[in-house]
Amino acid sequence: MEDVILKGLDIKEIMRYHNCGYPCLMLDFMDEVIPGKSAKGYKNFTYNEWFFPAHFENDPNVPSSILMEAMSQTLLMTFLTLPGYERIPTACLRITHIEFRRKIIPGDRLDLSAELKMFRDGIAYGKVEGSVDGQSSCSADFTIGIPSILEQNSRSEN
């Protein structure tokens, strides 16, 4: 079977698949999504976001928790685009191998690419990388669960 490739998803289409909304939607544009496989997109950072005045007053830079959120939302796009999974609630189970390699400041564009390694029984595992100006800036491995499927499975086991 040939892969479906979704190209150029703007905010309207991202919202069709994604549960997150303002002020916690950390994706601006998806260049290419292959459902069940990979996703590529980006987020712009501008001084007009709620965390910059406080983090930090004289040195605005992106909090690492925001980067983790942006990375996990990119991974979500790889499997929320599969038929039947649109806007399904998810929960993060484990994050490993987190690395932050450089400071990201307002005016930067964070390019994100995610790869889904495994997706079975309501559990997804994948790798995400973020880069600024072609320079790798952060990366992490995520394990994400879909609670409704996990509950079903545990009920049928008992």
Binding site: D10, I11, K12, M15, G21, Y22, P23, L25, M26, L27, D28, F29, Y42, K43, N44, F45, T46, Y47, N48, E49, W50, F52, P53, N58, D59, P60, I105, P106, G107, D108, R109
Partner: protein, 157 residues
């Protein structure tokens, strides 16, 4: 007066620009020659305060904020002059033209030019681009009240 071009990041910009969050609509100034011109950009993202309301389901940057962003870029060219750091600038007359929507995910590049600056009154022109395409234009007159009020004829109210 300095004639050399220099760049400003967000922290340096705040020395010259009195606007603050959530109304500072410039992210980086890439080139400025005080009293002549300023170039820079603003990134647009889904995480800005007007996104949920302008408009639900179809977010785009309000025209009044595009005017504000362009006017701020013009004031950078003025307030970077010697002795003008952080001075408040008021708008006097704007004429804006909008060619297409500016959406989250875009980068709004702005180029401002000072056409004349005398007695605290500045005439300027600013253009905004997304991916090299002209999206908005502004012809404007702004005043610096500190200077302008001192020089205004007394009898004229």
């Amino acid at each position: 007066m300095q004639d050399e071009a220099f760049a400003l990041n967000e922290v340096e910009l705040m020395r010259y620009q009195p606007n603050r969050y959530p109304f500072l609509l410039i992210d980086r100034v890439t080139e400025v020659v005080p009293g002549k011109y300023a170039k820079g950009y603003k990134n647009l993202t889904n995480n800005e305060w007007w996104i949920p309301i302008h408009f639900p389901g179809n977010p785009n940057m309000p025209g009044c904020l595009q005017i504000e962003a362009m006017a701020q870029m013009l004031t950078v060219a003025l307030t970077s002059l010697d002795g003008m750091e952080g001075k408040v600038v008021h708008s006097y007359k704007h004429m804006g033209t909008f060619h297409r929507e500016v959406r989250p995910g875009d980068r709004l590049d702005m180029e401002s030019e000072v056409l004349s600056f005398r007695h605290g009154l500045c005439k300027g022109a600013v253009k905004g681009y997304v991916d090299g395409e002209l999206v908005c234009e502004l012809e404007t007159v702004v005043i610096i009240p500190d200077i302008f009020k001192k020089l205004r004829p007394k009898g004229n109210k």
